[in-house]
Symmetry: C2
Subunit: 182 residues, 2 copies
């Protein structure tokens, strides 16, 4: 237990909450996890097959719906694997912001360009923040329904805190460039 593929752990984590299809796993990623993790079908489906072959998950066909669904569940061993991973210290938290890269080299362009990148970043954050705030409200309201909500709420709060810090920075950065620039 040292070099786990993160995709395996994310999937097992989601399966530990409920049974899911590959499609649903992708959806969870694109909604609740997307603020700090992402994955594509091209990594999810192969990972699912792999988890089954390693005995960490099982697959069964859905009989109820008319769709050709493959439903995945976590196994006992999968649970053990997940819990083990959760006890191991975090290896790496990574941030790759192209916006900051372009800003860092801003001197090669005009101030206007730098401002454009900052504004684009600001707009993106302003558009996403309401979803986080809404999620916070909903989660706070049903905190007692599911113990897992507590942890979900913490990650949402993280997103809100940082997004608000981003927006503050955007304001300051714009002011700084407009005052000092030109």
């Amino acid at each position: 237990m040292a070099n786990e593929r993160k995709i395996d752990c994310v999937i097992l984590g989601l399966l530990s909450h409920e049974e899911l299809t590959g499609y649903e796993i992708k959806k969870r990623m694109d909604t609740t996890l997307k603020y700090f993790w992402s994955a594509s079908y091209g990594s999810i489906y192969p990972a699912l097959s792999d988890l089954v072959s390693r005995g960490l998950a099982t697959k069964r066909e859905d009989t109820e719906s008319k769709r050709n669904k493959q439903i995945y569940s976590i196994t006992e061993e999968g649970c053990r694997y997940l819990r083990e991973w959760l006890t191991v210290p975090v290896e790496k938290d990574e941030l790759r912001y192209e916006t900051l890269l372009k800003l860092f080299f801003g001197n090669e362009q005009e101030t206007k360009q730098a401002l454009t990148h900052i504004k684009a970043f600001e707009e993106k954050i302003e558009k996403e923040l309401p979803y986080l705030l809404e999620a916070e409200k909903v989660l706070k309201a049903c905190l007692n329904e599911d113990a897992a909500h507590k942890y979900y709420l913490l990650t949402v709060k993280f997103g809100i805190k940082t997004y608000q810090a981003y927006l503050e920075w955007c304001e300051e950065a714009k002011k700084f460039l407009m005052d000092s620039g030109a």
Copy 2:
């Protein structure tokens, strides 16, 4: 100009400030850029060769020092390439925090484990923040010496803002878990 390898752009950006060896490029990454970008020798050296073969940079051997240094410079075309990239909108800002992943699935473990991850995260941030604050002080003092400092300062300020937000979140998260937990 649509699918530029970011590593090329970072290197060209650094070379636009000054001539550098591959080793020095790596060092710049590990100090000034590491808060929002990273790269290893295994990607830097091949990229440098590639940039030379594409006419975006030139390489010459160092004659002054006794070391076997390969010094790289940006070409006119390299400058054009860089500036072009800087005008293109940002494609992706990515955050991959394993800490949040482990926290999200925190229900599978004890509250204690979640707290451990938060504390480890907090310590890491507390250790790095002073460097950012020091960099801010230095940059503010010599802002007029080099126009590029202005942009460098902005990225440092971004780091400070977010790190401070992280620390606030850590405090709240710890309190939240200790109050609600157990």
